[in-house]
Symmetry: C2
């Protein structure tokens, strides 16, 4: 049985420094026919793969039922819940990949930073990070601190069978924005002020966050994820010049330090039309594209040899089946053209996360449609 | 005295259909040396003009003092307050243009739509517009319904002397988003759903909002404004294809119907990197650029013959004088290069509105710096 073999392979993985690669070589062999992994690696998938950012979560009644009375962070550190919530959209929609149920602040919390996720607000940091001393006082992440997450991944590898599992983390810039602002921010003014006023402290902060991100992703790889997505949720707030100077070197290090695992690495941010080329340069194998840029234009910006992921406007899911079908067909057509222009493949997705009020039945129907395209 | 002459000219303006042009011909003659108008119209300004979006408002202590106990909409419909609040940043910063203190929902309120501006929330619409019947029930705007605004403009033309006054309105798409969503929206899902699911109703709605916008802008022109800015605050949420199909024809009609006035027309939205060319096509003389796209790139997208406005990241104003100076010099340099590439001129501004916590002293110093560049 695949699950048991994977579990056996994982038990080897903790024994030595080279076993992580072995696990993943194994994992990839196991899932060699998975359309998602084929499209991500330049092979020809047996059907057009599709998954949805935020497919695990708010839009599903079974999720809301399961989360009743349980806080967001509590859920993220409960292996059984992580597994069950991650599995829900696989069972319901038949998507081609699972995305680990987690949150981008999970590694920060695990490392010992005092924060909470407040419903209706988002992450709230008890002591925002604003000085060189604050940065020096930041903890690092030891792999055992995310043991609950990796336990959840091990349960998932068993439960998922042939469906690949995407691990993920927030990119250093986005984590920095939460830490510096103290929570979600519309304008990121304190973050950008630190960048421009004190670049030395800024780069130290991003260095620490890169270490934490790499440690978190390596732990996920060791536990058996088949792909990784690095979310730079707020990168779209930056000019290309600021992105290149203050962010790119750190995201680049994240991708470089997980490269040996050999699993597909996806990079995504929203409102990043002018950053797509640089985000590809950071080292991703797959670049996620929001709905603002057609895939035929995205491939020009990203350059050849990388797969593209996206890019249906999540708001279109509220426009009825005719509009959804028309937009999905347009995107599939543009994706096919992008591939003739050099893109390594296409993974159908939304251009941003599933909105909370989305009708789950609409998502299920969209999966069926994409598989026919 | 200039003010009295302008007032005399305005009193003619209400007498017949052709007098609006007369007023504005007069106004432009009066302000022929104003750096802002020179830069906007392809002439050579005596110094680099600068003003700030949201310069009138939240960042100024004298504004917060004046607004104590007075609601936002109440302020917008009080001619004396409109004049005083608009004047405050002129006196304090010495900027090269005044921007009418108003709000984009003012013409909707004036036309009789039940709405309020709730502190900390934004505009809240009592009965959102979601059906064809809702659209058919929408009122039009009669000029006398914005008499308080035009009275404020008449006071301002007297008070401002040689400083040009920029009138403004929200663009039809942004107004539609407020009406359909019922208030500010992050994802505009109901708006986009109407667009895609019922394009006939959508275009009817945008047609009504175009009529209201044109009526509001024509009233401002008749009262004596020297330039107009059309804010499409939320246009950046759209793909270029959706913008072209569902928005551009209406914004184009707005610009066409105010063209005979002969005053510079500015168009701005945030996060509109991929829309800049189309927003220029809509008919603006000046295209506002947010901080994400360098002016040298903006001129390529907009094409030659239009002036550019922008584009300092408002968050940089929190980074200290050295960073601000460095960024302002970079922008001035890129603007000069953009002019050699075909841009008709450059008006220095932020890439978005002044943030509420901005130190007003920093803005004053920036005006002095820009005037030296």
């Amino acid at each position: 049985m695949h699950g048991n073999e994977a579990a056996a392979s994982r038990s080897v993985a903790v024994a030595g420094p080279h076993t992580m690669t072995e696990v993943n070589t194994y994992t990839r062999r196991r899932l060699t026919d998975a359309p998602f992994l084929a499209a991500a690696t330049g092979a020809t998938p047996s059907r057009r793969p599709v998954w949805f950012m935020r497919q695990a979560g708010r839009s599903l009644p079974e999720y809301r039922e399961l989360r009743k009375g349980i806080g967001m962070l509590e859920s993220c550190f409960d292996p059984e819940l992580v597994c069950e919530i991650t599995m829900q959209p696989i069972r319901r929609h038949g998507v081609d990949a699972a995305i680990l149920f987690s949150d981008i602040v999970v590694p920060l919390k695990a490392a010992g930073i005092d924060l909470d996720i407040v419903p209706g607000v988002g992450p709230v940091i008890a002591s925002p990070v604003r000085t060189a001393a604050d940065v020096r006082a930041l903890p690092r992440l030891r792999p055992e601190e995310v043991g609950a997450v990796t336990d959840g991944i091990e349960l998932l590898v068993d439960a998922l069978g042939d469906t690949p599992l995407i691990g993920f983390a927030g990119a250093p810039f986005t984590l920095a924005s939460y830490l510096v602002e103290g929570g979600p921010s519309k304008n990121h003014e304190r973050t950008k002020a630190m960048m421009h006023a004190d670049p030395t402290t800024w780069h130290e902060l991003l260095g620490v966050l890169t270490d934490i991100t790499v440690a978190f992703l390596q732990a996920q790889l060791a536990a058996g994820v088949d792909a990784l997505q690095l979310f730079d949720s707020w990168a779209g707030a930056l000019s290309l010049a600021d992105y290149r100077t203050f962010v790119l070197p750190h995201s680049e290090r994240v991708f470089a330090q997980i490269a040996t695992a050999g699993v597909p690495r996806i990079h995504f941010g929203v409102g990043t039309g002018d950053l797509l080329g640089a985000m590809g340069e950071a080292g991703a194998d797959v670049v996620g594209v929001d709905w603002r840029v057609p895939l035929t234009e995205a491939v020009r910006r990203v350059g050849p040899g990388k797969a593209l992921q996206g890019n249906l406007d999540p708001a279109v899911l509220f426009a009825g089946s005719a509009a959804i079908e028309s937009e999905a067909r347009r995107i599939a057509g543009e994706a096919d053209e992008a591939i003739t222009m050099g893109a390594a493949g296409h993974i159908f997705n939304l251009g941003h996360g599933v909105l909370p009020d989305t009708d789950p039945g609409v998502l299920t129907a969209l999966v069926e449609l994409v598989h026919e395209l």
